[in-house]
Symmetry: D2
Subunit: 355 residues, 4 copies
Amino acid sequence: MVMHMTFTVAVAGASGYAGGEMLRLLLDHPEAEIRTVTAHSNAGTRLGEHQPHLRRLADRVLAPTEVEHLAGHDVVVLALPHGASGAVAAELGDAALVVDLGADHRLVDPAAWEAFYGNPHAGTWPYGLPELLHAGERTPAAQRAALAGTRRIAVPGCNVTAVTLGLQPGVAAGLVEPTDLVAVLANGYSGAGKSLKTHLLASEALGAAQPYAVGGTHRHIPEIEQNLGVAGAGAVSISFTPTLVPMARGILATATARLVPGTDPASVRAAWEDAYRDEPFVHLLPEGQWPTTAATLGANTALVQVAVDERAGRVVTVTAIDNLVKGTAGAAVQSLNLALGLPETLGLPLDGVAP
Amino acid sequence: MVMHMTFTVAVAGASGYAGGEMLRLLLDHPEAEIRTVTAHSNAGTRLGEHQPHLRRLADRVLAPTEVEHLAGHDVVVLALPHGASGAVAAELGDAALVVDLGADHRLVDPAAWEAFYGNPHAGTWPYGLPELLHAGERTPAAQRAALAGTRRIAVPGCNVTAVTLGLQPGVAAGLVEPTDLVAVLANGYSGAGKSLKTHLLASEALGAAQPYAVGGTHRHIPEIEQNLGVAGAGAVSISFTPTLVPMARGILATATARLVPGTDPASVRAAWEDAYRDEPFVHLLPEGQWPTTAATLGANTALVQVAVDERAGRVVTVTAIDNLVKGTAGAAVQSLNLALGLPETLGLPLDGVAP
Amino acid sequence: MVMHMTFTVAVAGASGYAGGEMLRLLLDHPEAEIRTVTAHSNAGTRLGEHQPHLRRLADRVLAPTEVEHLAGHDVVVLALPHGASGAVAAELGDAALVVDLGADHRLVDPAAWEAFYGNPHAGTWPYGLPELLHAGERTPAAQRAALAGTRRIAVPGCNVTAVTLGLQPGVAAGLVEPTDLVAVLANGYSGAGKSLKTHLLASEALGAAQPYAVGGTHRHIPEIEQNLGVAGAGAVSISFTPTLVPMARGILATATARLVPGTDPASVRAAWEDAYRDEPFVHLLPEGQWPTTAATLGANTALVQVAVDERAGRVVTVTAIDNLVKGTAGAAVQSLNLALGLPETLGLPLDGVAP
Amino acid sequence: MVMHMTFTVAVAGASGYAGGEMLRLLLDHPEAEIRTVTAHSNAGTRLGEHQPHLRRLADRVLAPTEVEHLAGHDVVVLALPHGASGAVAAELGDAALVVDLGADHRLVDPAAWEAFYGNPHAGTWPYGLPELLHAGERTPAAQRAALAGTRRIAVPGCNVTAVTLGLQPGVAAGLVEPTDLVAVLANGYSGAGKSLKTHLLASEALGAAQPYAVGGTHRHIPEIEQNLGVAGAGAVSISFTPTLVPMARGILATATARLVPGTDPASVRAAWEDAYRDEPFVHLLPEGQWPTTAATLGANTALVQVAVDERAGRVVTVTAIDNLVKGTAGAAVQSLNLALGLPETLGLPLDGVAP
């Protein structure tokens, strides 16, 4: 006998990239019933105009993003601009599991929120990274407990997930110094959303690599520091630089940390192996094989590798994810599965689309 | 009255990417007369088959890469596999200015050479990075003196040039700690040459970012350390990770260094401004504007930016170059101009081809 | 009650692109049990080295491509070089459903085979394009009948599928003249396979569009002509030019045909609507919306649009498919579903992965 | 003794792609002195913000695009929206050579203009395609005469140049039928300009091929027909479909025409050889070698190939150009050289930047 727990779902912001990816995953989720799709300026148009790849939803018409259209669903997914989700969630109340793909409820520290985002802090929701290590853990468990049964989920930032997964085993095991981390990322353009800005034009992107938010200004920095703090670091300090490269999807995060003096290099691999041995979606590659973003395209998979550079006295980790899946919509589905008491992996793709 | 000093030139390895770029630049050099092009397995074929973009040389036939074909030229440029250039140069003697695009004669320390390359050290030639700062300099001068009149030039590695230009002003001015540098690069595929390897196929590259030579194994590491040592660092240690991204050309090097405690952040920009104020090919961008590789395509130009991340206690620099021009063939022309007593900028493109 | 008809399957040539895509689809097929993966030169290595995106199969070891390893499966999929599949199938006999991803058994006419392929004709197998219109049909049916229960399937060429789907409604309805067709295709690189050739290198592909097999020489030409002949054309003649463009996957086929004089333009759209109204995998887009290959990535979907250019007296059709899915492995699964009596759409993705 | 004829120049629309490319070429033109750069919404900003690749002009400030800033130059180049150049030119009078990169003055037939552009015809200027064959010519001459000494130049559309160069030798020689031409183009994104539209975003472009202006609606159609009419065709009819592919620059135009019955295939190659034998910028490749856009990047070069497909009874031509150079700014420089009595090739790059 098979138990079923079908849930109805509304996706707000369904004409954008994050909303579209949410729909793509929900279409293949055996318990999800997509009832409502909404948009702001695109309300009233066919979804097929904006998401021509979602054949099964091509004829759905976008409703306006208003609470009256979102209410009455078991799950409401919000892909909205910063600052908008708090009020919507308040109106929906606890009747709905509200999943926020935006940043509003990720940070615990109001001061960090205000320093990086500028508007008032809207409160903190359970954080949708089930694989987040907590201090004292060698394998992730506590974060899953925090998500079980919740009515609110704050989905992590895509860059944050990549850097956290790369570094946290060493931090949690006390093998690396968390006060001088460096991360540089190669980012696909869909992470910037469907916004009309000159530097996001194809002509600017093709054949080019360009950094952005350099010098400690990126809004994902306090979120990374928060995660590694949870993993056991006291103070955390990270130099973080994302760079746009000519691909639509994918993040390749190269993150390094100084080895604690006297650390046995052999213990490094053991820490990463312990952390991810049982994870369905985070895979430490065999020694010598390095991640490529292509292998994660479309999948809720993170590929991780770690090496000790004894010459430089640093651990180097490289993590590949699809920013729209494990970095956004896949993390959302994984977390809502936990929140609803469903198997964590239900409906989630594990294999990428390559080449 | 205009003085002319025409020189004849042979390019060995002319069917590859570095050789092709050398020819492209020499075609526009007012004093260069391309007499001979050679190749190994492609000897006997038309250059137009291999370099269809070099219209003016399309009908040249590739001679075999043998000394008899290279002798008798004023300048001989070698784009050969590692280990081959020493013997050729010995046979050519001092009659020719020999410019080696390969690695054989870059490193001063035989132990470093053997550790990273594995074959016997072939001696050191004057190093073709005119902008290399020497200890005590605030603006580059000594390296130009080292190149004036030389009969041998070792052209730097492309990644090395990008990282050296990004970091050396801070090292020379004593503002950053050279013992814990981190550099992560986004690299175009032409840096890997025209070799037939699976990971270099278009199907593998398109839509993908992938690292290589991770964990302190890349051969450019000792060369970077050597350069920054010249710039005034005592011990140098760098974590260096190149990543292939889907573009044919270009290097975007993000390099960071810890600020020396107590350093006035304002002095950082001054050091970079001093270093590059008078450089024709290295441009510190206005504050707030970040380099893109697209702006350097085809040009012998390095675009540099620097910022202080006070939160992380690090200087972050980003440098963009065209790996085949400022990273290889442009550096060669610039250096041979100095060696021959010609104006350093003669025949070199300054403006990129964009978008 | 749910009926199950699980089948075991072996994939030969599993380290290449077509074999890898076959595995990706079979992993999500509810009745397929992947038992064996084989390769030629990669035999003995882990599949994860060659197909890092197929996480669930990463630890499978490739057996050599020999009949002893392929025998004993319900289904055997062959992704082999031309000329190899006939002998393998003969040894396997009728015990296995043999699905050939190669060209060996597609053509009915031995003379056409020999003219374009050069080696002896190996016989004709039922052709794996269920949507192929037969003369007199307005909606596809006969080809499905031809595939029901078969023990042999010849999967179409990817370019052939795109051009056939674009043009056949007009040919079958007698609205266009089949003797002066023109098709020009934009092709992703994976269609060329994982072979090590200079023109397939990333450095050659990035930023470039290049044609190949121009002037009536491409091997897919007689196959297109055969299909349109089945659709009702007497003589067929097509000018066919594929061009490689910088994407890993996808075919965008622009195909045009002269309108039969006196044809009512309104009847054109009706013919295309009739042909594909009930097709699960071939979608005529709403008027004014044109296909993009991105919308088909990873999906067994063909997007088709048609317009009448009255000025030029031609019908213009544009068809987008993923060359590895609807163009190869998806067509194989769709056809083997029919051969095994399973629902035709079972296990096949309909929605693409975009952006 | 060397004669000099320096000219001053103003470029209006200098922050866009066509204007930027015009500046790039003029920087290397030995007789051009760039005095003024103007823009509309970007007036008052530094050129370096918009054209970071033009290092020598980085500190120029953009003036507003008004006649008072454009008057007083020997040459004025207009890269303006449709409909704007006529009034500007009228105010400038014959004191300036006015070069229009836009479409306003290309078409001779007011009816064709109004049918495709919708606003009143602004008159016809000498057409800036020096290689245009006129009826009865086997090698281009008459069009050069039309440009000599002119005070007005209408620069051709980029797609038009590619298709005209590909087909005109056969039309002029009477070897092909001009009433049923078909052209399909692979286009880089810079041809669409720097406009903020969703389908021009990098996320939409990367990994995708998409057509536009299908079905006889593209504004370049009457211009192609006009050109082939000049070349000797009576009535001309062309099915024309451009497709956007993921590259910043380049056009690969595949154009086919039916052979006139009874034509000796050997005469085809002769016609193309005759037409382009002496052309500095249009190169018929050796038989068997096909054009790639990469070989033309940055160069004022068209690469052409032609083949007879006897099976299909068609001539197939493929032409590669850089849409911003031979397709726009290079054609402008070439034509203004002729207008000013300078050597036609002065200051124009012949060799591309590849890979």
